[in-house]
């Protein structure tokens, strides 16, 4: 839980900074069509489908990730990249969810570095490489040779015995979601450089 604590602190700090920054700009002038971008962005962070409370429906892919102690790093990363609302859409969405262990296996300092605000785009790109518009079971994925990912790159599918590998990562478990499916994988998939 060390990671998550650090991340929460960072997120909190980030939010404070954004809001302080917004307030410094002073009150908005009446009829000013140009919104303060920071204010809008920060407010938007708490608006949208990701923040609907008391949903009795089947959990969506984001809720599944949030509920899993094995995915706290992934969740922190999704929040740092502002991708929550993209994961609760009607989709359908297939999320390949690396475990905390998979993140920890990355070279020392990689995760911390990606969570820095200046690396938000790079982080978002990596995360979107883990998302497919679609909803396929592990077995069904055997029909594919590749998948088109949300960051606009393709990822290769390989079948070895009963195992299905996506971008070199093995699917170790699968959880159907209200808006798609979460496949838990044992590696972080790094998008190939173009």
């Amino acid at each position: 839980m060390k990671t998550i604590n650090r991340v929460t602190t960072k997120l909190g700090l980030l939010a404070v900074l954004l809001w302080v920054g917004a307030c410094k700009q002073g009150p908005q002038t009446e009829g000013n069509a140009a919104q303060e971008p920071q204010a809008a962005a920060a407010a938007a962070k708490t608006a949208g489908q990701a923040f609907i409370e008391g949903d009795v429906a089947k959990p969506n892919v984001l809720q599944i990730a949030i509920g899993s102690p094995d995915h706290s790093t992934l969740v922190a990363a999704v929040q740092a990249a502002d991708l929550e609302n993209a994961l609760v859409n009607a989709g359908p969405l297939m999320v390949f969810a690396p475990t905390n262990e998979a993140f920890a296996a990355l070279p020392e300092g990689t995760v911390e570095n990606l969570l820095k605000p200046e690396n938000k785009d790079a982080l978002a790109n990596i995360l979107k490489y883990h998302v497919t518009p679609g909803n396929y079971s592990k077995d069904f994925l055997k029909k594919f040779k590749k998948l088109g990912q949300a960051n606009n790159q393709d990822v290769l599918i390989e079948v070895k015995g009963d195992d299905v590998y996506v971008g070199g990562a093995r699917i170790v478990a699968s959880v159907p979601a209200g808006n798609g499916i979460v496949h838990v994988i044992d590696k972080v998939m790094l998008p190939p450089s173009e």
Binding site: Q49, D70, N152
Partner: protein
């Protein structure tokens, strides 16, 4: 996987709630204390003022928003979001007797018989010289392929033409810049002509028809000029060229793999599908010189006549088809990434924007570059003889990763484009030419199409954009499992978009067209002139009122005026008769409709405008004296506006008579 089975769902929810409450707390703590709506950061304090249209004042724009699965077209005012009218188009409407009364039943006739419903998708307003002229709205019916025309002098559907050789009429109903044609592209490719054959033999055998329907410049009459029989792809959306590219039409295609099953996998194999560029002027010239093949067909052409207040349905038995291979230089394919959906042409006619729904980028093609590549005969192969241009040769630019799930782009006429993203649920503003993203605003939720009034023309009215959302979840008071869909209005007059309003819609607000109100409202009729009423059962004065028997048919030539029917006492009807009430509204005053129904009628009421005649059939099943009354609150003595019809047993000799005030 250790976590998240149903057993620890409860635990998980608790975690979610703590996350949520953290966020909520944070926003309360850090809000700047200006009384902003916490859930909606885009609202500024004067948003209400900017959408408020005072009682008695008029809105600046009409918005014609399709109803999707409702089959109709709704008319709203902008910026208020007030609903004025739901124009019945493809679905029966008991409120207005559309498809129920004898006059409009033929409007819903097709080669499959009477079809009481359709899926209405893409309205487009008629144009002159590339600018909206406000005469007609055209809209497609998807399911049983049809194109309807709504006449904006009366806001009624006045013509529906069925499209043969088409299935899932989705790539429709968009007009060329002088309304020379309204275009209808098929979504499904099908056997042409339809025949009994194995589905597995799709590839190479199924074809996709792109239909060009001419529109008479004088009376607006529609007629299928020709069908271009294209390869067996799926055709998704289309838009006309304008300015320099006038004479061309652009269609997005997907499933260029020609799969016939599990399209979500099999139609996503190719990295690129195509935008088909069709030089319709060239094909028009070809058919005007006798080109094309006449093919047997069977489709309905339904026309509502304003003078007779009645529709006729004619079955047409032939259609002119054109094989693209027979008209060299008329059709080219522009490679476009990943199953493009939106196909939008900017006001100058230079840029063609393809929104690959499985791509994270937007692809913009250049018309100039396309012409140059054609000129240089630089092709990258062909598909069924249709030359494929090279992607790099026609590409104007790429908007890189603006959002997830790009769908539709509109333009403000100021050099900006606005694209909706379904998956990331937002509108993104970007600049034509530099392709840079300028602004993004969230949509609540899952936005489909968007609309800038005049956005599909040379001259958009770039003040507002309306985003149409498929999902609203918690945005309104709940109404059980089925909740409203919505439209959201953004002010786009500044650098940043600003959310002003969201309002509920009728059906699925699939797509919309908008226009400055001044262009339309001066032409809007107030009454139908009684002296021009040519309805065969209409009456122009009380002297013409009568009841006639013809076998077991009884025809009542009736009038209605504040506050009585003439006749209001009728006798001599028998069980087993078919009783036709032909009712003329004698009022010649603005906004005085009357309605009528009779007990036990197995159909809807009639709602009759001043000067209009409508008819319904009543087949009484029981002897007795049965009432009829005015169903629209018309006057101070509305409750006195009633009558009786006496029904005698079958075979009785009750004399046929009718009266008023005797």
């Amino acid at each position: 996987m250790h976590a998240t089975t149903n057993n620890n769902l409860h635990e998980m929810k608790k975690t979610i709630y703590s996350f949520l409450s953290l966020f909520t707390l944070a926003s309360v703590f850090f809000a700047c204390g200006e009384g902003q709506q916490g859930t909606n950061g885009a609202l500024t304090s004067n948003a209400a003022e900017r959408v408020y249209v005072a009682p008695g004042e008029h809105d600046d724009y009409y918005a014609f928003i399709s109803g999707g699965f409702s089959g109709q077209l709704s008319v709203y005012g902008l910026p208020s979001g007030r609903l004025f009218k739901v124009i019945p188009v493809f679905s029966q409407d008991a409120e207005k007797a559309w498809g129920y009364n004898e006059e409009t039943k033929p409007m819903l006739n097709t080669s499959h018989g009477f079809v009481p419903w359709d899926d209405s998708h893409h309205p487009d307003i008629s144009q002159t010289n590339g600018e909206l002229d406000g005469r007609y709205v055209f809209i497609n019916g998807n399911n049983t392929p049809r194109i309807a025309k709504i006449d904006l002098s009366v806001f009624e559907t006045t013509e529906i033409i069925e499209i043969p050789n088409s299935a899932g009429n989705h790539s429709s109903a968009f007009v060329t810049e002088n309304t020379e044609y309204v275009v209808a592209g098929t979504r499904f490719s099908v056997p042409i002509p339809q025949r009994d054959m194995p589905i597995s033999e799709y590839k190479g055998n199924f074809k996709g028809a792109l239909t060009f329907i001419s529109v008479d410049p004088e009376d607006g009459g529609m007629d299928i000029k020709f069908q271009l029989i294209m390869p067996g792809f799926d055709y998704d959306l289309s838009h006309p060229g304008r300015g320099a590219s006038h004479g061309w039409f652009f269609f997005t295609t997907y499933n260029s793999e020609e799969a016939n099953t599990l399209l979500e996998v099999n139609a996503s194999q190719n990295d690129k599908d195509f935008i088909a560029a069709v030089n319709w002027k060239k094909i028009e010239e070809y058919v005007n010189n006798g080109g094309g093949t006449k093919m047997p067909a069977n489709y309905a052409h339904n026309v509502y006549d304003e003078a007779t207040h009645s529709a006729t349905s004619t079955m047409v038995k032939e259609v002119l088809t054109v094989n693209p291979a027979d008209v060299p230089g008329a059709v080219y394919l522009l490679p476009t990434p990943k199953s493009p959906h939106g196909c939008d042409v900017d006001p100058s006619g230079e840029y063609i924007v393809g929104a690959g729904k499985l791509s994270a980028d937007l692809t913009v093609h250049s018309f100039t570059k396309m012409l140059a590549a054609i000129e240089n005969q630089k092709f990258d192969g062909d598909a069924y003889g249709i030359p494929i241009l090279s992607f790099e040769d026609v590409l104007a630019g790429t908007v890189s990763q603006p959002g997830l799930g790009p769908l539709h782009t509109e333009f403000d006429g100021q050099g900006n484009a606005y694209t909706t993203f379904f998956i990331s649920s937002e509108v993104v503003k970007w600049k034509l030419g530099t392709w840079e993203v300028v602004d993004r605003q969230p949509c609540y939720y899952s936005v489909g199409h968007l609309m800038i009034p005049g956005g599909n023309s040379r001259k958009p009215f770039g003040k507002y954009v309306v985003a149409m959302n498929k999902i609203t979840k918690d945005r309104y008071l709940p109404t059980g499992p089925e909740v409203t869909q919505s439209a959201q209005l953004y002010d786009i007059s500044g650098e940043k978009m600003e959310l002003l309003l969201d309002f509920p819609t009728v059906g699925e607000p699939h797509y919309a067209a908008g226009i400055a109100a001044d262009i339309v409202k001066a032409r809007s009729k107030k009454i139908y002139e009684l002296q021009n009423n040519e309805h065969p059962y209409g009456v122009k004065s009380d002297a013409d009122v009568k009841v006639e028997r013809n076998g077991n048919e009884v025809h009542i030539y009736m009038t209605m005026i504040r506050s009585h029917f003439n006749p209001d006492n009728i006798e001599g009807v028998k069980v087993g008769d078919k009783v036709y009430f032909h009712v003329t509204n004698m009022e010649q005053d603005y906004d005085v409709p009357h309605g009528i129904s009779v007990i036990g009628a197995n159909t809807s009421e009639l709602l009759i405008m001043p000067g209009q005649t409508e008819s319904f059939v009543w087949e009484p099943k029981q002897p007795g004296v049965w009432p009829f009354y005015c169903t629209d609150f018309c006057s101070a003595l509305h409750q006195e506006m009633q009558g009786y019809i006496r029904v005698s047993p079958a075979g009785s000799n009750t004399e046929l008579k009718y009266s008023l005030g005797e």
